[in-house]
Amino acid sequence: MNTKKLFKNLMKEKLWLFLLILATGFFFFPVRVIMLRQSILADIRDGFSRTFNSVGSVLGINADYVDRIILVLLVVIAAFIAAGVTFHYLHDVSRTDFWMSLPIKRRNRFLLHFLSGFLSTVIPFLIDYLAAGIICIVTGMLTGYGITQFFLSMLSLILVFLSIYLLSCLCHVLTGRTVIGVLLTGFFLVIGPGAIYLFEGLCGCFLTHYISDINTGVAVWFSPATLASLSDISGRIIFALIYSVIFLVFALIAVEKRPAEAAGNSFSFRWLPLFIKIAVTTAGSLFFGLALSAFGSGDLRIWFLFFMVIAALLLPMVMDLIFSMDLRAIKKNWKINLLSFAIPIVISIFFAADIAGYDRFVPKENEVASVGIIGDDAMNYQGSLYVLGESPDKTYYSKEPVSIEEAARFVQNNNPNRGGDYILRLVFNLKSGKVVKRQYPTSYDEIRNLYDVFSKDEKYREDIALAKKLEYTGEKTIFALSPYDPDRVIEGETVILNLDEKGKRTLIDALVKDESNMTYSEYERSTPTYLIEVRRSSDEGGASGVLSIYPEFTETMKILEEYIEK
């Protein structure tokens, strides 16, 4: 067997795929870069970051939201087409007969096909991507750091494609029909992030006191498809590589075990339909229940159960029809269908009956080290100065115990059915090290009372001062002062404060001190006079924050006097 000749033949068969990717990539990368060139050249005079952001968006280095979605779609579609074309031979009896009768080991045959599909897609992508990169480098749109990021981004996109392509290959090996292979790939691509959102959705639907303790941002790590949307290039590379290795190993195992007679059947293995049916019915019915209940009125839980039950009944039957194209399959598979129907019901009951006791949590004073309040959009005005925001490193207020008795009493009085127009979010730092977060629908008065109790603690106030959240990063931080004008009727001028580094630091310290000197009630009674905006810029992008300046901010006002007079 002349493997080289065979591989050449396979590549020749996929020439159309090569040309399709080349043409798509040509318009997506080099042409777009050339189109950007005129506006970017003007930007170069203003500063590097905007140029980098524009080019980065096109090349997937520092993509904005829309570009990320387009990139993800392109990578996923390319992987679906490449895998579908490459492994169609597994789903066609005549092709299977041809390939399986050849004197070549299954594993090598798989790798040969896999490589032909991979190269037919990646080579044209590389041509287009490198062409775009060269244009950017030659015209000065990419320099230094940008060039390194360009090559890293290229590697990451290839690896993300590889991981999705391998998953798709695996799914085509596991199935005997291309359409089922494609559906299975789609299912595996969404089930990771989907499971997190389903869990969140169910908790939100059934648990009144539920506060998400899951960083839904991590959902993107649970699927190779969403990896492409990450701006963290090294993360993309590492995770895509891990996924690729896992999928390759599974695909090689599956190829060895796959019976050739699976061609034309829905699935290659006996256990797979059961697994898929249960997984799809469970995820699908819960999803439909949550999604469609949003259109209902009144108690959403009833709507959820209504739509979930209908979906759980219908989905296994729909799958039977897709898998077998035969209505009799529904009757034949009634036991599996019943099991598929029962599992989402059991899961829903688990949440509806609060079997884990989430909503019944009442803190015991001797077990709680400290209590904090988590900010809420509804209280974001003055109240936000007195709540403890969620810090990025997930550490909560945990110094001196504050008002545990008061918080415990509050929780005890707020059973799930009590309700209210406002939401109070509490975080309990238990002595065991565990952090428990709960939210309570309640009245504004109750929230204010609790805030006042909490705000008696000066140390607490200092810790939650908003000014502490402003990242002071030296020269590139700009402080802008403007009059406070909620109705936008005063034509106030914004003044950029001419502060050196020491001045900026002194101002931040004064703000923190002034903020923490006022109690919640004092804030409620007072009205701000100025706003101070802190803008920060860096090569990776910018950030800004706005603070209200109250007349009681004596130390801050002293520093600002000079500018206010102006």
Binding site: L6, N9, S101, P103, P259
Partner: protein
């Protein structure tokens, strides 16, 4: 030599039984015909013999080695299934290139000379070929592959009578010149009868019969006779193991299971007006054997 030992194969996760305890031996240098009822398992057996399918139990040994996932054995096999796969936009020339890549002994010269003889254009796209032309092409590819074992599934389907004779000649030539061992599965017993030395008869997933074609015919006889009166005929029929009976006027044509001499002596005992034994076709042997195996034509029309 091909040895098929107790091969069992089920499909649809055990729901469909395709082959059950099939055992056959195919000697080298012979053209082996595989015949059988619809769904008897002929194609399945060929696919197992080519290493495409893995038998559930049993094994297929070619030259003493198991064929499944055995690269060395598969080098000597060329399998031409009923529906042959052609790469998109392929031409006979490009197909020759593909076969050259996968069959090291592929004889390009022989292939192109065959093409010329059959007036097939090497540059014409295969997807513009008729069914018969595609069939011709696959046969030529197989016969030029240089493989010792060539398995054909429904080879004569779609070929016109002239082409059938040409193909039969080409297969016979290849056996003589290259000592190939073709195994041909077909419903067309007339064609198999002309070319096959031995025949395997599959029925309901099992082997009813596997023998040299001439030996096979020894156990079934075809007799045409004219009896003096109907009573004698009825009496004779009751004494014989009759597979089928036809009548053309006073002439009766019987296919009878049994030894030639014994049958003729019984017939002659009734002093018929006329009686003679005539050659049996493979089709008649097939009907005879499958009816014994429970596949009775009469049952189909009850």
């Amino acid at each position: 030599m091909i040895e098929i030992k107790n091969v069992t194969k089920n499909f649809s996760f055990g729901e469909i039984k395709a082959l059950s305890e099939v055992s056959l031996t195919i000697a080298d240098g012979d053209i082996f015909g595989l015949i059988g009822t619809n769904g008897a398992g002929k194609s399945t057996l060929l696919r197992i013999m080519s290493g495409v399918l893995k038998p559930d139990t049993g094994e297929v040994l070619i030259d003493g080695e198991n064929v499944y996932e055995n690269v060395n054995v598969k080098k000597n096999i060329c399998f031409i299934p009923d529906n042959v796969y052609f790469a998109p936009n392929s031409t006979p020339k490009s197909e020759a290139g593909l076969f050259e890549a996968v069959h090291p002994g592929f004889d390009k010269k022989r292939f192109f000379s065959f093409l010329q003889k059959l007036s097939l254009d090497p540059e014409q796209r295969v997807n513009t070929f008729s069914k018969g032309m595609k069939r011709q092409l696959t046969i030529l590819l197989a016969l030029s592959s240089g493989s010792k074992y060539v398995f054909f599934d429904e080879t004569f389907d779609g070929l016109d009578p002239v082409m059938r004779q040409t193909v039969k000649g080409a297969i016979a030539d290849a056996v003589c010149e290259m000592q190939i061992c073709p195994v041909i599965a077909s419903h067309n017993m007339r064609e198999l009868e002309d070319i096959s030395g031995s025949v395997g008869l599959l029925h309901k997933g099992g082997v009813l019969l596997s023998d040299n074609l001439d030996d096979m015919k020894l156990n079934v006889q075809k007799v045409q006779l004219v009896m003096k009166d109907a009573a004698d005929l009825e009496k004779l029929l009751s004494e014989l193991d009759v597979v089928s009976k036809d009548a053309m006027g006073s002439m009766n044509i019987l296919v009878v299971r049994g030894n030639h001499d014994e049958i003729m002596s019984r017939v002659n005992a009734f002093c018929p007006v006329f009686a003679e034994s005539i050659p049996l076709t493979l089709e008649e042997v097939f009907i005879s054997e499958t009816s014994a195996g429970g596949y009775d034509l009469k049952d189909l029309f009850v």
